[in-house]
């Protein structure tokens, strides 16, 4: 067990930090935050920044060399994710973490050749079309239909809760291709060009202040070459892909950032003294630090297991649970530590920490249900990890 970064890893971390501190300055954040989408970067900036990540070689650094990647270990990727989250940099989403891994594992040679070079340059944004009004945690309950028609499939129906669909170039969409088969059997996965005729997007404002989307497919023609994996075998494709998502989401950078920001607030001199001199505040900060350390160790442990060529599965779900629960604890403690300032939002001259704590308290509510959510994750861990009966 070697707790310290190697000299090379530390140098990489410093390089990423320098890059992010140069690119994500307070002025940049002020200039590119989307005031209509509270607490979010604009879609334009997110896309432009993703290209910068591509140009800097960060997107494919963990990919195998045969796909144009850097072939670096998952520890480097974990360091990169950690720093990206810590600096609130945009673009670290499914387009970088999930889709390329799923494509490399499950896509056809033609699909890899078409998409991977564009992904590694940071040119593409994606939405993942799993959820529907009737299919969330019970994912196999999808109703969007795909009907074979010669060299094409014709897709009709509605996807819901579709993050970033408004800026997506492609959709990674799960459909029902055989309604006669049992729930898990008749599913097929497609890559759908979002410029295809018949696609419309509806916006739904969330209580976090930003908008979420529903995507409607009206007789959208998708070439057979955009089928991922085999027809009617979409469930296998989803299950094969989903662990990639959780590994990336379990990065501890967010938790470290939340903690450090609170610490900065508590050490500020103000009339009446510093919060950090209050024993109760010290105890709370210590308890939070212990939880944050747990989330961090767990995330890097996963990266090290991957780096050794192992394939942790339920451990990945567990790490995501720990990270998100810790983030929620920090949200709750954060509001309490802000005291009477807690409800003040960005734009108010008195808003502490630019109103971020209050935004996150609302925004991170989605941790409790998105990508599995807390209770579903506990079920996954109990059945797949601990072997309890369903």
């Amino acid at each position: 067990m070697d707790l310290k970064f190697t000299a090379e890893e530390a140098a990489f971390r410093d390089e990423v930090r320098a890059f992010l501190r140069r690119e994500i300055t307070p002025a940049v954040w002020e200039a590119h935050r989307d005031l209509a989408e509270q607490g979010m970067w604009t879609a334009e900036f997110t896309k432009a920044f993703r290209r910068k990540l591509g140009a800097a070689g960060y997107i494919g650094m963990g990919w195998p060399k045969e796909y144009g990647g850097g072939g670096r270990s998952r520890v480097y990727q974990a360091i990169f994710w950690d720093e990206m989250e810590y600096h609130r940099a945009p673009g670290l989403d499914r387009a970088i973490t999930y889709i390329p891994n799923a494509l490399m594992a499950l896509g056809s040679e033609a699909q890899k050749a078409e998409f991977l070079p564009r992904i590694i340059r940071g040119e593409l944004s994606w939405f993942v079309g799993y959820s529907e009004p009737e299919a969330g945690s019970d994912l196999a309950n999808v109703k969007v239909r795909a009907v074979e028609d010669g060299d094409h499939f014709v897709v009709t129906g509605q996807k819901a809760f579709s993050s970033d669909a408004h800026m997506a170039d492609y959709g990674w969409v799960l459909t029902r291709s055989d309604s006669a088969s049992s729930k898990h059997r008749g599913l097929s996965m497609f890559i759908i060009d979002m410029k295809s005729p018949g696609i419309t997007i509806t916006k739904y404002p969330t209580l976090a202040g930003w908008t979420h989307h529903a995507v409607h497919f009206d007789q959208v023609r998708v070439p057979r070459s955009m089928l991922v994996g085999e027809v009617h075998q979409g469930w296998k494709t989803v299950m094969g892909a989903i662990d990639f998502e959780r590994a990336a989401l379990s990065s501890p950078g967010l938790v470290s950032y939340q903690f450090d920001r609170l610490l900065a607030w508590c050490t500020k001199e103000r009339e009446g003294g510093r919060l950090i001199d209050d024993p109760l505040v010290q105890d709370e900060l210590v308890r939070l630090a212990i939880e944050a350390e747990g989330a961090k160790v767990m995330s890097y442990w996963l990266a090290c297991l991957h780096a050794k060529g192992l394939r942790p599965q339920h451990e990945t779900s567990l790490a995501l649970l720990v990270k998100r629960e810790t983030a929620r604890r920090l949200d709750v403690s954060g509001l309490e530590l802000l005291g009477p300032f807690a409800p003040l939002r960005h734009g108010s001259p008195w808003a502490p920490l630019e109103g971020e704590v209050e935004v996150e308290y609302r925004d991170h509510l989605y941790f409790q249900f998105a990508a599995g959510g807390f209770d579903i994750t506990r079920n996954v861990v109990a059945t797949r990890g601990l072997g309890l009966p369903r």
Partner: protein, 392 residues
């Protein structure tokens, strides 16, 4: 960075776990509780033959020269099997203390015999004042003739009944850390011991020093220079108890999963109920986080890092989390777990004892709070981020 255990460590862990599961029956373990020695000398000899008594000592003393993480893996396995042994008194406390601070004569005299399992030694640190700070040490050591006289009362002394010598911490001056360590043979006149009744499998003793005289060569380290060595001893103890707590938690979870999979109620195994799923997932979550923090602490102390921050975090976390794990285990077992002849009770008691040993959760949170006030950089950890520019 590689925060996983390597193949050798994995093999050691598996061997230790297999041994700990087979070493003693639950009835034999229970029969030792409250007995004078509290452990089975034959089992300890077997452990010594497997190299565990000497694992962390250099080869020149008959050891294997492994790190503290290896010792943590052994201790975790012993916790999982609820196997009582003098490994804390003899190896974690006295042995490593002598390796750190002992004179060449003291090392030569004790370490090879500790490594071979022949000698049991212990340390007497804590006192009725409670706490683990230097200010709480009232035992007086006064110069007398060619040596010293000791007067005072010590508590929570492990294995005093079996030890051939006790290394005692006492006060030699007025400054808070004017403290000194002396090796005292157990049969020295004026030294009285009394077994404490306590939860868990360890034999804890009260030791009274009533005008106990020792020679000048009894000093371990330097007169007045004891505290840094004792602080290190307490950290090692806390890190090892964190690992033991992980073993206790693992055993509790294993018993619970086995029960939940086989116990049928309402025509279904109770493990199929979502309420049980969630309880078990939370036990497992707390256990895995605890394990990584415990391993991190042992590795940090063993790798020559300060290791204090990592140890405070590990002991604070495991002391609370594993006690919670044992309570949830009982929640799922229901009444059957409440019976003394069901093995879960062993772990419930051991969690109480291990959480209290070498500082409970509150003690270690206070230590972290002190670090927060006095050394913010250290508190945030070696690999911490630079604060984002707009909050500096």
């Amino acid at each position: 960075m590689d925060i996983t255990i390597d193949d050798d460590q994995k093999m050691l862990r598996e061997t230790a776990m297999a041994f700990a599961q087979e070493a003693m029956t639950a009835d034999a373990i229970r029969a030792l509780e409250g007995s004078e020695h509290g452990f089975d000398a034959k089992v300890w000899r077997k452990m010594a033959e497997m190299g565990w008594a000497g694992a962390v000592f250099p080869e020149e003393y008959g050891g294997a020269g492994t790190g503290l993480l290896e010792l943590a893996l052994i201790v975790e396995a012993l916790g999982q099997g609820a196997v009582p042994s003098p490994i804390y008194s003899t190896v974690v406390e006295a042995g490593l203390l002598l390796l750190d601070a002992g004179s060449p004569a003291q090392r030569d005299s004790y370490l090879p015999r500790i490594a071979s399992g022949e000698a049991i030694l212990t340390t007497a640190i804590a006192e009725p004042s409670g706490g683990l700070s230097p200010a709480g040490i009232r035992t007086r050591i006064t110069p007398a003739g060619n040596g010293f006289t000791i007067n005072g009362t010590k508590l929570f002394v492990r294995d005093a009944g079996a030890a051939e010598a006790i290394i005692c911490l006492g006060r030699t001056g007025d400054n808070e850390t004017d403290l000194t360590l002396l090796v005292v043979p157990r049969d020295t006149p004026g030294l009285k011991i009394r077994r404490l009744q306590a939860a868990g499998g360890e034999a804890l003793w009260e030791v009274v020093f009533d005008d106990v005289n020792v020679d000048a060569d009894a000093v371990v380290g330097e007169v007045g220079g004891a505290w840094s060595h004792v602080a290190r001893l307490l950290l090692r103890g806390a890190a090892m108890k964190s690992a033991e707590l992980v073993g206790i938690g693992q055993a509790s979870l294993d018993l619970t999963l086995n029960y939940a999979k086989t116990r049928v109620q309402f025509d279904r195994p109770i493990g199929s109920f979502q309420g049980v799923h969630h309880h078990c997932a939370e036990m497992y979550r707390d256990l895995e986080v605890s394990r990584l923090l415990a391993w991190q602490a042992a590795a940090a102390l063993g790798d020559g890092m300060a290791g204090d921050r990592e140890t405070f975090i590990a002991k604070a976390k495991t002391s609370e989390a594993i006690q919670a794990v044992t309570r949830t285990a009982h929640q799922i077992h229901g009444a059957i777990g409440f019976y003394r002849d069901y093995p879960l009770e062993l772990y419930y008691h051991r969690a109480i004892a291990a959480a209290a040993a070498y500082g409970d959760a509150g003690h270690h949170r206070r230590a972290l709070a002190r670090m927060l006030r006095e050394n913010l950089g250290r508190f945030r950890g070696e690999s911490s981020h630079e604060l984002p520019v707009h909050y500096v």
